[in-house]
Amino acid sequence: MASLPPIDVPRGATGEGAFDAPAEELRGVVFETLLRLGDDSLVLGQRLGEWCGHAPSVEVDLSLANMGLDLIGQATLFLNAAGEAEGQGRDGDSLAFRRDVLDFRNCWLVEQPNGDFAQTMARQFLFSTWQKMLFEHLTASSDETIAAIAAKAVKEVTYHAELAAEWVVRLGDGTGESRRRMIEGLDWHWRFVPELFEMDEIAAKAAECGIGADVAKFRADYDARIRAVLAQATLEPPADQRPILGGRRGHHSEHLGHLLAVMQYLPRTYPDATW
């Protein structure tokens, strides 16, 4: 496998001249953890917003927009908290709209293009199932803000995971065409699942001090849940492919830049605009 880009250790974490290094390091880990959580929600929320007015039916349109809204609400909370943890005067808006693509910390799964409705639902199923389990663990985070946001958001995400699972079954066990499209959707996204369970240096440190979750703890539950829903949908799990990693360190697919260009257009063109 190709070598991964170097880990971007938060400023002040190590090295000469770092005053009160442990406290600074902790602050960096909290900041980075919040960015990862916030960017996952933000990017997927933006993706779902692209469906607005284009979904197969008005009910589906409302579902996708509502899920997007929940995710953007979570992103606002996570990124505002990240700005506070960083202590450099940035808030959720400046983190969302004034960072460049290499500074985003979301996973590859959420930035993937919507494709057709089946591909969107396959992505939602793989992500929301993971996010629900993650948030369940984070309700016990030693960081009070992360614990409170997770406890609030887990109720919303449970709904997302159920809705997406229903569509996987409905399309997978549906007509020949819906089945083919769901198989293709799952196949496209399958290689991005291992990244959800990657424990790099920052994730390990966050888990060690109780801020973040040890994702390895729910890998078996995740696999079991995915397989159970696929079985109900009369589908086989896709063949394993070479995993794609790097989003947590700012390496992204070309798709994220296009997404940000749309999302950040207004605040970049008219800085500090108000209405």
């Binding site: 009910e59 809204l69 229903e166």
Partner: protein, 149 residues
């Protein structure tokens, strides 16, 4: 000096603040107001992304100001997370009368139009984050149901 009487008066003001999306219920009916203490009102959002949250805070602010409680601040808390269990009984009755099936643990909703229990879900999401779309199989009317949350 803030007296008990003042706290009661603040509660009364809050009971007059309508939810911007469902104006028949107040922010107190919905359980959004968690606490009224001396000099501070504590509120909690329903859904993290609910656009009404900011409007609600603004409406509460203007209602407090208009009633002369300019020095009462508003604090937003996330924990414990809002639940539909906090909607008051009178709030549920008002929702039903307005045509929205209130949240309940039952599998089926009671149609707010004709009272039939022969109802079914059309979509898990509705016009706002807090509602799902349902349909009555007897009178055939579609209706919103408050999601259990």
């Amino acid at each position: 000096m803030v007296t008990i009487l003042d706290t009661d008066a603040v509660w009364q003001v809050l009971e007059s603040v309508a939810d911007p999306e469902i104006p028949v219920v107040s922010v107190v009916d919905l359980g959004i107001v968690r606490d009224v203490g001396p000099k501070r009102v504590t509120i909690t959002p329903t859904y993290t992304g609910c656009p009404a949250t900011q409007v609600i805070e603004r409406d509460i602010r203007s209602a407090l100001d208009a009633a002369g409680f300019r020095d009462v601040s508003i604090e937003t808390v996330l924990s414990p997370p809002w639940t539909t269990d906090w909607i008051t009984e009178s709030g549920k009755a008002k929702l039903h009368a307005y045509g929205i099936a209130p949240p309940s643990a039952e599998r089926t909703a009671v149609c707010p139009q004709c009272g039939s229990a022969a109802t079914e879900e059309i979509s898990r999401f509705g016009s706002t984050p807090c509602k799902a779309q349902w349909r009555c199989r007897d009178c055939l009317e579609p209706f919103d149901r408050f999601k259990c949350h």
